[in-house]
Symmetry: C2
Subunit: 314 residues, 2 copies
């Protein structure tokens, strides 16, 4: 299995720079006081399509040869990767086929359609999603872009931490959430190359703790019936992601649903940022273990801000 390296992230950054937002890094004295540390938030909720996923999708789409690109790209997803791939494809001027379960929320269907994605609905099972996508791929020859278990995607996601460290070079610790592991593996590659002494710690909801258990066991233990408000973190670790994470990540912490909601509310109220629950998971870990993180310089990647305003947990 070929693993991505930091040079892939450098290349990705050059390739996607003109298409992505260089997102701001914001701080909050109020939150610093609560945690007792200095925290730098890399605001990927302000990224195009509202999530870091656009970086990876962009790198995957723009890495294709013209010949490959001409046949289009595709994925099965009901989340942020679908919107990100649709927009990246639109910018390159090619087609994106998105397979979505028929029961996906209206708001997600609208987002993908709004970015010009061609939606094919399927049954709400993983098997139906995969079969439907494979059928489209056989007919059209599209390049399938996996949401996280893909070297180009990982390299793209790693550009967020690269930007963070370019602006804030001295950090004791970088935290990000972990679901499939795309953001975490990319982040770890960047951090350990640019600032080898900085720790990389992932945070995960205890209701979806497959990454935590896999990390401790040393082999992938897939999620069984995960349940958390952090809907972006329900997926199981990918193989490439796990291989990188095993080598480069220092620790994975799990957090309660209450802490996630508390952290989310803090960011909304004190930082005036709309973040989705998955984004709040790293700050939730700090809230739960304040003593362990006192007097540090900490980077947090706020992963995304796509949430239904009609259905808030507060």
């Amino acid at each position: 299995m070929k693993l991505p390296v930091f040079e892939d992230i450098i290349d990705a950054h050059k390739l996607i720079k003109e298409f992505i937002h260089r997102t701001p890094i914001l701080t909050s004295s109020a939150i610093n006081r609560i945690i007792g540390s200095e925290i730098f938030f890399k605001c990927e909720n302000l990224q195009k399509t509202g999530a870091f996923k656009f970086r990876g999708a962009c790198n995957a789409v723009f890495s294709l040869t013209n010949e490959q690109a001409s046949r289009g790209v595709g994925t099965h997803s009901s989340g942020n990767h679908a919107a990100a791939l649709a927009l990246a494809a639109r910018i390159r001027g090619i087609q994106a086929h998105i397979v979505m379960p028929s029961n996906s929320p209206e708001i997600k269907k609208k987002a993908v359609a709004g970015y010009g994605g061609i939606i094919t609905y399927c049954e709400p099972t993983l098997q139906s999603r995969e079969t439907t996508l494979r059928e489209i791929a056989e007919k059209t020859g599209i390049e399938i872009v996996h949401p996280y278990n893909n070297c180009k995607v990982i390299a793209g996601q790693g550009t967020a931490a690269k930007e963070l460290l370019e602006e804030i070079p001295i950090l004791d610790l970088i935290l990000c959430p972990v679901g499939g592991g795309g953001l975490l593996s990319g982040t770890a590659l960047s951090v350990k190359a640019i600032s080898p002494l900085s720790r990389v710690i992932a945070a995960e909801p205890s209701g979806a703790d497959d990454a935590y258990r896999s990390f401790k066991a040393g082999y992938i233990i897939p999620s069984v019936k995960p349940k958390t408000i952090a809907d972006g973190l329900l997926t199981s670790l990918g193989e490439i992601n796990f291989a990188v994470i095993s080598q480069k990540v220092d620790d994975i912490l799990t957090v309660s649903e209450e802490s996630i909601i508390e952290a989310m509310r803090l960011v909304w109220e004190r930082m005036k940022l709309v973040i989705e629950p998955s984004s709040a998971v790293p700050l939730a870990a700090l809230l739960e273990k304040k003593e362990a993180f006192r007097n540090l310089r900490i980077g947090i990647i706020l992963s995304g801000g796509n949430i239904d305003l009609g259905n808030l947990p507060f």
Copy 2:
């Protein structure tokens, strides 16, 4: 009556630079597409205390001599100015006396107290607020800092538009909300000095349209029973503010409550920014008059983000 000039804004900027956030300027392709223009949002909702008011309060507090400062500052306010003055005073290490109506929302009382303000409660009438503040001033010798009818405050507020034009030098139009006129008069002074050909247009809720009516009439017509969701814009124009606005502002537009809520939702959903209703008023004006603003480069000052998350209009 002495009016502030652009040089006061330059001085203010030098004085407060180290205490304020240089807030980011963000864009949204989705909102650009909806309006048919290129819009640059100056994010004062990300300013300290969650509103542009911190700029003016900081300038007022740090312009005092040591002798004046030693006696403290004060104001009557239940809104963003109170929190801003409290924090500015805390940074300078002096006392801030804040007179608040006893029926102020808990969240506002907590914010002022959290920034170290000394709260005195009064009856919820303007007369009681003024009398209570005057009594404190007579006893303590504090410097009263009016929320908008004050040259130092106006000069501080003008630094937001100055920063906007320093980063985005070519703008056809700058829009901001108008309540008491502190932000608008400061903005107009900056814009007409830095970029004289750019238009300055204010937006106001039609349910609180005293600035619109005063601007058209040529003299101040105070608000009578204003009613709008944009609670930051209920106040009547100040005299200094009106004098500057009459000279420097190109137009004032009024907008409906529905447009304010629509604009606010757009910014939350598409830009992932928590803004209060007052901040949404300029974008509401663009939504209502798209044809008039097509194909322009437009700056909008997002004035603040202080809102009770338990009481949203959507």
